[in-house]
């Protein structure tokens, strides 16, 4: 069987689960990454303090690709600034563009996201823009040089699931880049569903971070994502609109 490899920014990944590292103790990061089987993890860039608290990089297993995000950016200019600082921290060229000017729902600003994507792609970044699932914006992101498109399923941190399902499906069907569903996925079954729909990967943070047992939930997501991917690759069976259809022969009954 041909190996199912996920290509992103010229790099090969076997895992299709991108794990967030926020909202939980850094000491659990290693176990979560291992149980998730994740090969990519997101990080934020913030003002340093000198209190000597554990450096998160010490807790991330070797070989895991770091995906810094531009969280905190309110426009393209701020996102570019944060991205450049993250590259200076010496962890590669990947960046997840995240631009928000709404602090209640934390919805991404699609227009500024397109601008930042274009600027950063020109600077040689592998740009993964987080966006509200809109086909026109997704097309603009392709033209701007994005490496993938990251539509939200529901507001960040809400665990509400696939609220934008129909629109994510449109992106999967129409956009010729990996669609990585990010934000809002709260349960393994939802991660599985979106992989069955043809998403290239899933990113989750809060669903794991707010679970009762963090490493165990990371493992549950890994299995769900793998199952959904395999279901997608298998080609889902058809749905019969009306009536049923026997799956055993309709002959040779023990009667008459």
């Amino acid at each position: 069987m041909k190996q199912d490899v996920f290509m992103l920014g010229g790099q090969e990944f076997q895992s299709r689960f991108i794990l967030g590292s926020g909202k939980y103790n850094v000491e659990l990061v290693k176990a979560a990454v291992e149980q998730a089987g994740a090969q990519m993890i997101t990080l934020a860039v913030r003002r340093a303090n000198s209190s000597g608290e554990g450096n998160i990089l010490d807790f991330i297993p070797e070989g895991v690709t770091l995906l810094p995000n531009t969280s905190g950016a309110r426009n393209a200019k701020e996102a570019v600034r944060i991205a450049k600082l993250s590259r200076e921290l010496g962890c590669g060229n990947f960046v997840k563009v995240e631009i928000m000017r709404d602090s209640k729902y934390l919805l991404p600003d699609n227009q500024e996201t397109v601008k930042a994507t274009e600027l950063l792609a020109k600077e040689g970044f592998v740009v993964l823009p987080y966006m509200y699932p809109d086909l026109n914006t997704a097309r603009d992101l392709v033209n701007a040089g994005a490496a993938a498109v990251m539509p939200l399923a529901a507001p960040i941190g809400s665990n509400k699931g696939l609220a934008t399902k129909e629109f994510i499906q449109i992106l999967i069907d129409e956009i010729d880049l990996p669609i990585i569903v990010d934000a809002g996925i709260g349960r393994p079954s939802q991660a599985c569903e979106v992989m069955e729909m043809g998403a290239a990967a899933v990113m989750a943070n809060t669903a794991i971070a707010t679970a009762g047992d963090i490493p165990k939930m990371a493992s549950a997501f890994r299995k769900a994502i793998e199952a959904g991917r395999e279901g997608y690759l298998s080609g889902l069976g058809r749905v019969k609109e009306r009536g049923g259809e026997a799956s055993s022969p309709l002959t040779g009954f023990l009667r008459d």
Binding site: R47, L57, E88
Partner: protein
């Protein structure tokens, strides 16, 4: 000068390298911005700070999103 939003009094002639030490930052874990321009690591020892400078010292921390 202003470091991460806080006004600090330092004698003139201080380099970025010395500032990081005095502030207790681990050089290999941070990135430095001076008046919105990145200071590359090899320039820490030769970049001299002035009184009116605005400096940001950042590092990675846990984060999925905002």
């Amino acid at each position: 000068m202003k470091i991460n939003g806080v006004i600090k009094e330092y004698p003139s002639g201080l380099t970025v390298s010395q500032m990081l030490e005095r502030e207790g930052f681990q050089k290999e874990q941070v990135a430095v911005e001076l008046n919105e321009e990145i200071v590359s690591r090899d320039a820490y020892g030769t970049t001299v700070l002035k009184n009116a400078d605005v400096i940001e010292v950042v590092y990675f921390m846990g984060g999925g999103s905002q």
